[in-house]
């Protein structure tokens, strides 16, 4: 992988878990600036746990996390949002009972003073016109894809420089998955770094620069996405490839 100064996020020997259960056993990896990095691994490898730990929702017992050279280990979500990190959790994350506009407003909750949230919401509506059309209806009436758009638009409200996105394709139609991935590529072109967990590993790696394989809470492989795509072991384990084509 690339040189040190190009690293935007670095995890060093992170240990974390729930109660007596340790999920991350010394996870270590680096994420390069303005890239898409996909984390893959079998169920229970700790993919989502890594994100929760980075975003301060789960305490890291030991180890350090650095972002842009600053130690952000166990910062609160609010502090991380102010630093420019945003987290889009797995599944549906909108507030279904609230209107689309209210949902967007909540995205600006952690905005530092001096940021005009109304302007940002306006910009988001220009970018995703469907949100303007549906601004005053309950978010639960949006289709699955529209809800994902709302979630992404809400996440982008604070102009993050690092986006942690967990399973963006889950429950979406293939067309919508494509659209979501296009948005991510577009963000990368603007210099945003994206760290993503994805079940749909093959299509995720295809748009990624780097890939990480997590197993039992440790980094097993950290390679370019292309290397991982062509690695027979990875193909066999996670990409749905059969033994023969991988060996060939």
């Amino acid at each position: 992988m690339d040189t040190e100064h190009n690293t935007v996020l670095a995890l060093d020997n992170i240990v974390a878990g729930y109660g007596a259960m340790t999920i991350l056993n010394g996870t270590t990896f680096n994420v390069r600036r303005a890239t898409i990095t996909t984390v893959i691994g079998p169920n229970g490898a700790g993919k989502s746990t890594v994100f929760k730990t980075i975003f301060g929702m789960l305490k890291a017992r030991t180890g350090t996390i650095t972002f842009d050279g600053a130690d952000i280990t166990n910062n609160t979500p609010r502090q991380l949002l102010e630093r420019g990190i945003c987290y889009v959790p797995q599944g549906r994350n909108i507030f279904p009972e609230l209107t689309v506009r209210h949902n967007l407003e909540l995205g600006g909750f952690a905005a530092p003073s001096g940021i005009n949230i109304d302007e940002r919401i306006e910009a988001a509506m220009v970018r995703f016109p469907i949100l303007r059309q549906k601004a005053d209806v309950q978010a639960s009436t949006l289709s699955g894809g529209q809800q994902k758009l709302l979630e992404i638009a809400r996440g982008l409200l604070l102009d993050p420089t690092l986006i942690l996105i967990d399973e963006p394709s889950i429950g979406l139609s293939p067309l919508m998955v494509q659209e979501t991935f296009d948005i991510l590529k577009d963000l990368r072109a603007k210099g945003v770094t994206i760290l993503m967990v994805e079940q749909n590993a093959k299509s995720a790696l295809q748009i990624s620069d780097d890939g990480l394989v997590l197993e039992l809470g440790r980094t097993r492989m950290a390679e370019t996405a292309e290397t991982l795509l062509n690695d027979p072991r990875v193909g066999q384990l996670f990409l749905g490839g059969a033994m023969e084509p991988a060996a060939a």
Partner: protein, 343 residues
């Protein structure tokens, strides 16, 4: 028409008419009627506070009556000791804010019916203190002859004057609650109610806001108690037993939890409706109980929710008739296209 009913202009108009009505009301009512309307306002304030905790932040509390009691005793004892009313009023709110904050801690660990029981236990505890700690509260004899305030030379001793004083204070407190709801605080409360984990991922400090929801709601309850004391001028511990907490809970839910006007409507059903239903005599409670059961069965979102449902029903009807009209026009333009497309 339907859009108008949900517009801000309409809500504003209703509000202005309501306040205007309340201002001219004393010129038509006898002192007992005034006492009743003032009682409605005091209960509405207490319910507004509970609505903040329960309706907006989603934290159930069966202790709002206890906070009204703490506020009433605080103001009663202080004014009887000669402390000026404004000081006693602020102390009531501040004391309930502090106690409410502490009561919020269990809510960080337990939710829903577990939290209901924690707050219920607290309510009983407060009642026992009021009844048994005679050195402080005068026990079962309660407090008597609580003075009504004289503010800037305005003696609120007469029924009409005190009515206006209650109206003024209710308006100020209602405005504060309205402001909280519309501020980022209110938004954070709603996010907390809807889904704490999602709220956390957006940077809402759920811990702080849970405590805040309890503290703010309780302090509004304390202010209601501070108004209650000089209004009735006599009270004893039973005024603030668990029954009051349950009544306030009912007011919030019947009126419409999580809506600004809900508590006002809920308080009206609890305080004013019994008087209007007096002709039904002994059957009053039976009628009221049945009304509540029917309402909860068919509209768990309360009276305000009932109105909103009606409006949305009318709106959907309008939209769907517009759609079918549009579909007919389109159908006439392209006859037989459906069959053609399949081939």
């Amino acid at each position: 028409m339907m859009d108008f009913l949900t517009s801000r202009a309409f809500k504003g108009t209703v509000f202005v008419l309501l306040v205007a009505g309340l201002i001219i009301l004393p010129f038509f009512l006898r002192p007992f009627g005034l006492l009743l309307v003032a009682m409605w306002m005091v209960h509405a304030v207490a319910a507004l506070g509970l609505n903040l905790t329960l309706g907006y932040a989603g934290q159930i509390s069966m202790a709002q009556g206890a906070f009204v009691g703490i506020g009433a005793y605080c103001t009663g004892l202080m004014t009887l000791a000669g402390v000026p009313y404004p000081v006693a009023f602020l102390c009531s709110g501040a004391l309930c804010f502090a106690i409410g904050w502490i009561l919020g801690y269990p809510a960080l660990r337990v939710q829903h019916h577990y939290l209901a029981f924690v707050t219920l236990a607290f309510s009983t505890l407060v009642f026992l203190v009021m009844r048994n700690e005679e050195w402080l509260t005068n026990g079962i004899y309660g407090l008597t002859d609580i003075p009504r305030p004289i503010l800037f030379g305005w003696n609120t001793g007469k029924a009409k004057d005190f009515y206006f004083f209650t109206l003024l204070m209710t308006s100020i407190l209602a405005f504060c609650v309205w402001w909280i709801i519309r501020s980022p605080w209110g938004r954070a409360f709603v996010a907390l109610r809807e889904n704490p984990v999602r709220a956390l991922s957006l940077g809402v400090d759920t811990r702080r806001y849970t405590l805040m929801a309890f503290a703010m709601g309780s302090s509004i309850g304390g202010f209601a108690g501070a108004l209650y004391a000089p209004l009735v001028q006599f009270f004893e511990p039973n005024s603030f037993s668990l029954t009051l907490s349950l009544k306030l809970l009912l007011m919030v839910i019947v009126g419409g939890a999580g809506t600004f006007f809900g508590p006002f409507i809920g308080a009206a059903t609890e305080v004013l409706l019994p008087e209007w239903l007096r002709i039904a005599q002994g059957y009053y409670l039976i009628i009221y109980a049945m009304l509540v059961m029917v309402l909860m069965m068919f509209c768990p979102t309360g009276i305000i929710g009932l109105g909103e449902r009606l409006i949305s029903h009318l709106r959907q009807k309008k939209i769907s008739s517009e759609r079918s009209a549009q579909a007919q026009v389109m159908g006439a333009d392209k006859p037989g296209q459906k069959e053609g497309a399949g081939q």
